[in-house]
Symmetry: C3
Subunit: 354 residues, 3 copies
């Protein structure tokens, strides 16, 4: 008789165009909001007030968790994200589900693994699309027998950035400077500016397990110390959320990320690591709504080294360095754990004064 | 003057037929649901969606916690459960209370402790009975002076199993295969089948303390490292909930346990232990509602040894072994921490297709 | 360009009469209530039932957290509280904000720090004042250049106690003895009585970080193990809440603290410390509402030493001892971490019987 417990797909099990849906449709509540605050310390007023708007990263983690059973139980690494868009606001009481489609396959030359590209689309109960994103993940193969995708990989065409004119506009209730404790509107940020967020946060297994379970992400590597030689891998999403929570300091008026152009987990984190964050302003864009503008930001999360202290010496904290083993190539220094390129929405001065 | 702080009853304080009620009536909310998911990772769709149905184990832990102050502050061990029934569904907004009655007393031959049998009945605010169960617990005595229950123990008559025809039927909203990520309806399970659930979960003091406090269980042994020589005993209910959460994998369409025939905490667990779970299908029963059936399941929770890996060698994982000190008697191997025999409700194929 | 990340005020930045407001207006929900129970184990029925009344200490921690960014990012120590009053009940759905005013300044003779006295007033969304308190905090100076407040400190006049006739009276729904598991009404307590609460609770970094983040308190010393040499300082408010949660045992009928006369964090606590609590009855007062009375209580929280066991030997547990370095002066023994003097409301016998 077939074992009923599910052990997950391997690289060979996926086909181009394959469609999947994972458990569990999840209703968003005040409980998820309070837990998200308790686990990250995020202070963005937009997501703490009476409107009960769900934080974009709560939406992301919830629907990401729904993909794990079908996509990544046998993952070696979660390689990257692209073309992530938050399309409609989500409120307490909404129920989220995700649909997945396999849009790319590439077997690695090692023949023991391959990369699967997955397009994800999340809906709420009335059929409204609320979010979409593509992620790619390295999956183990069942055997070393080659697949057609060794010689003929199929790679999807993915945008490097989400064009700002395609950012969804929500009906916003703007916060005040007083509510945010901040002083900076859209116009105050300049391209090329670097913002240090100063706060450091030390990770621990209990917090990361609770966070990962909150989003019903069942990847074993985060939970089983027995099999992980005592050091479970922290869920990469935790670094995203802690980085974003720390980035409140200096981006206090923000209304929430609206698109993620690209994202890479560059090194793993473990219990005991302390995370620090800084942000580079990459670009600015006007939007059809004259009360707000979009900042393209690069958020870098660093472990066990405070980049603001490093920079006090007058040096610029490097995001990439030369790869000693590959002349002419660059790599991320080992203390950088996350490189995220996203569009953030901020109010304009005029709208705040009016 | 009498000390006002309560130090709990001892064996001698209980009398047959004694009735008790403990603090604290507790209102069920979205907060309890979100925390239960965050602490266990349970993904059963029935308890995550817009109906805001309260998980049967949230109900159990809540009302169990209400018994601790009156019954088990001076417990040596929580010995077993029988005749546990979930009688009516509980939703967000309902407030739960418990009534206790002493139905059995037996002093141990050591004269330093005795066993108290307690019948527990839980109600919601409108007087509807929502749950009942019997548990027995070993309590310390105040003195070595013998009681009448040394020579004449009074043992209640308890059913070995809850007859399936007595299982309460709730008005169910059936999940779909898509929502659950599962493939198996009631008919797909066979008596004698063993289901491995694969996921391992490592316990830690923070999670177990948070879980135990969530249910206002005030038993000191779970919280005071100073007096427990650095290793608090994990609340036994935690193993029940983690085992059940893991058992989602292979029982995805389940609608929730409806009765517990028997339950035994066979060995203690501590921070650092990793729990794995498997389930044996003991029996199947038809129910008056033709859309569902009942599976009688035996859930075994194991620490620090993955029973699915053990079984890959072709051996059957043993639940009991010969007791080396008592020839002819059996005992639980030291890595088995929980043996639970319960009735689970699952949809039938026809109801899912219709 | 000015760094946008905020690094906090120093002593020199404050002026008398300066008014401030910090982030983040926060809506109280079932999520906050459930998390507070899960993190403290508080069992007071008044704050667990269907009325969805917010625990006075949830209100305190929430609005305290809102002051950190403006007041205490560069704090050396949180020295004390006075004149703290809960003025109106807060329910699920209410949104809390705080206003601060600098009412005293005193530079220390060391010239590297000074004490800032802050009057805090918290409101809910409709403008109702719900709470106020004064706290004073030692802040680092930017430079050793003296300020006018070295020679001419300005110290506010603060009441030693909140007069009981000024305690706010809420429309109360009294609990029953059954709901609380308690046996004692207002009349049963006597001035001079000492109540041991027996329960011990061991602290850990995960729980304290989650608790502190829940209230959006961003003081770095609680979160950054890297900079704190591996031992973050526990948020002092955690000892307040665990002490109060433990004090349920012996004060089961309580309706919640209504004023705090004074409070001192006397020694720091760290992960691994086990907290025990006892309470001395300092005074009793009648109130205009004949169904309730006010007890003035002194709550002492002790680390790593159970005061009830100490007292079994017949000795009285000392709250202060002679300072070996300052003859004639007293100090707190090193295991006492909190000394809190507050007014608690309890039902009278007649109101419970009626």
């Amino acid at each position: 008789m077939q074992q009923k417990g599910w052990t997950g797909y391997f690289f060979e099990d996926f086909t181009l165009g394959m469609k999947l849906k994972g458990p569990t449709p999840r209703t968003m509540t005040d409980g998820e909001i309070a837990l998200y605050i308790a686990l990250t310390g995020d202070r963005t007023p937009h997501f703490c007030g009476p409107r009960r708007l769900i934080h974009p990263l709560i939406i992301f983690h919830t629907v990401f968790g729904q993909t794990v059973r079908q996509i990544s139980l046998n993952a070696r690494a979660n390689l990257g994200y692209a073309d992530m868009r938050w399309i409609a606001p989500v409120f307490v009481g909404d129920t989220l589900s995700i649909y997945m489609e396999i849009i790319g396959l590439k077997e690695n030359s090692s023949r023991d693994s391959g990369v699967v590209y997955v397009k994800n689309t999340a809906y709420k109960q009335d059929g409204t699309e609320v979010m979409r994103f593509t992620r790619w993940v390295m999956l183990r193969k069942r055997t070393s027998h080659p697949t057609p995708f060794l010689d003929q990989p199929h790679l999807p065409s993915l945008p490097k950035i989400v064009p700002p004119e395609e950012l969804a506009l929500f009906e916003e209730t703007l916060p005040t400077f007083e509510q945010c404790g901040g002083r900076w509107a859209f116009e105050d940020y300049q391209i090329g500016e670097r913002i240090f967020h100063y706060d450091g946060m030390t990770m621990n297994d209990s917090d990361q397990m609770t966070f990962t379970r909150l989003f019903q992400n069942s990847a074993k590597v985060h939970f089983d110390r027995h099999k992980m030689n005592g050091t479970p891998l922290l869920y990469g999403g935790l670094a995203i959320s802690h980085g974003y929570a720390q980035a409140f300091n200096g981006l206090e008026m923000r209304l929430g990320l609206r698109a993620l152009n690209s994202g890479h987990h560059t090194h793993p984190t473990h219990s005991g690591d302390t995370l620090y964050t800084f942000t580079d302003v990459l670009d600015k864009a006007s939007l059809p709504d004259p009360s707000v503008g979009a900042l393209r930001l690069r958020m870098i999360v660093v472990k066990n080294l405070d980049p603001s202290e490093f920079s006090e010496s007058g040096q610029t904290f490097p995001i990439t360095q030369e790869d000693p083993h590959k002349p002419g190539k660059t790599q991320y220094p080992s203390h950088i754990v996350l490189d995220l390129d996203y569009w953030e929405i901020l109010p304009r001065q005029a709208a705040l004064i009016a």
